[in-house]
Symmetry: C2
Subunit: 274 residues, 2 copies
């Protein structure tokens, strides 16, 4: 049986970069989980002495903090600086960008609209950089309730769909004189999905590796099933079932955005051994 990996799978650029930074910071602690994968968090602890702290108060002077890809709020950064904590900033550059835009545009007098989930850490961080009016919305109904002024700058959560962003932006353009639109959407999630879709068309069995509760992974599974009915979700090689591969010619493999490469390589090796 042949094995083929999707053209894009697993960690995005920002997460890969953050993991690499963490591996070089022995004795540091991440502020919040670096990724949604306990096995990877354990590996960083065991192999690189990088621990996890969930509360800002746990950090003390001379500690080393790793800021995760989502970024943090501006006042939290201030607290860490005031405490003289050493900061390793692994904020994804695709998240730093909207933080900078929001700060610059609000200093220039623009009302800020953020398309995203108010409760998401990335958006809490981005929003905190506004110096004036700032509104977080997900729907046009929410947008219509906002008393916006004439000059508006708008950014999006990195993981949102462009189609939905355009719906909101079009409403703004139609009703306001100037709208400064920043395309802050990152295509990593969609590239993984497109690659899974393409591979599922060739493969006669598809293995999707990722958390069983990860919405990202479940979406990959559902995309794979559209073209390949024999698509299976596993968290690691232990979940593999030999019967899946009987009489199959091409096994396609993809992985969710929180699945580390070493788990993917292990699964690939196990399937090769079948």
């Amino acid at each position: 049986m042949k094995i083929k990996l999707a053209e894009n799978y697993g960690f995005c650029f920002g997460v890969k970069r953050a993991i690499k930074m963490a591996e070089n910071e022995h004795g540091a602690a991440t502020y919040g989980p670096l990724i949604h994968n306990n096995k990877e968090i354990d590996r960083l602890k065991v192999n690189f002495d990088v621990s996890l702290k969930n509360d800002l108060s746990e950090f003390e002077s001379a500690d080393k903090v790793i800021i995760r890809t989502h970024g943090i709020e501006k006042n939290e950064l201030q607290v860490l600086n005031d405490k003289k904590v050493n900061i390793v900033d692994a904020t994804c550059p695709y998240v730093t960008k909207p933080q900078q835009i929001v700060e610059e545009m609000s200093l220039k007098g623009y009302d800020i609209v953020i398309f995203g989930d108010e409760e998401h850490p990335e958006i809490k961080g981005v929003k905190s950089y506004a110096q004036g009016n700032v509104y977080v919305v997900l729907t046009q109904d929410e947008l219509e309730l906002i008393p916006l002024r004439e000059k508006i700058a708008v950014v999006a959560q990195t993981t949102r769909k462009i189609e939905n962003y355009l719906t909101l932006v079009n409403h703004l353009i139609t009703h306001h004189k100037e709208v400064r639109v920043f395309n802050t959407i990152c295509n990593a999630t969609f590239e993984n999905q497109d690659a899974a879709r393409a591979l599922a068309k060739e493969a006669d069995v598809m293995i999707v590796i990722g958390g069983k509760n990860s919405s990202n992974t479940k979406q990959l599974l559902s995309i794979a099933k559209e073209s390949c009915k024999d698509s299976f979700l596993i968290e690691s090689s232990e979940d593999l079932d030999l019967t899946w591969f009987k009489d199959k010619k091409l096994c396609g493999i993809t992985a969710g955005a929180s699945t580390p490469d070493w788990i993917i390589m292990d699964v690939t090796q196990q399937i090769k051994n079948i």
Copy 2:
């Protein structure tokens, strides 16, 4: 028979303003026809001694030139200034705005995209204010051929439809990091159309006054006919036909964007006399 005028009809704000300015400038000449209506141009000549010149070379020092609503190109303005011609600027404020935006944005390093007709005087004028890269497009196909850089500012011809503008703008937002969108569309044309549509639903005969070759007027006629089959296009009261009004209860009246009020009033009076 009752007579009802559409809630919006005839001249837009900019044309009304230009005519009023011309009426106060005895001895002046407009550079190009002030509106697409020969009767109105004759009236300005006969009653207010305002003539028409079609070539820049016809203006001499101490002459008085009236710049029409469409505006003119920046270098033409320079020629007039160099000649010390007295300038009465009747450029519509809705046209001055995109001229200023194009100048300011191109000085700030933005590539400029103008949604409009390259041959239209308004667009020739607006385009002439660019200090750097500037592209005039009407379709997405044209847009895709342009080698745009990352920062883009976009304006629209005042008479374009917002839906078509959004199509181009959405393409830009999807493919570029920053798009600064200025909504420079003026609603006057669409307000006349909406008012004609509403009135035609009530009326049992509709009179549309305007040039028989005016696309603007023909569009009003076609909108009126959607709800009122007895809709007629006339250029002046001489075109009225008594049989149209037999057994009718409500006559609706609207007029194209180049139809002066005095023609509309004359038609209204003649119908009242029937």
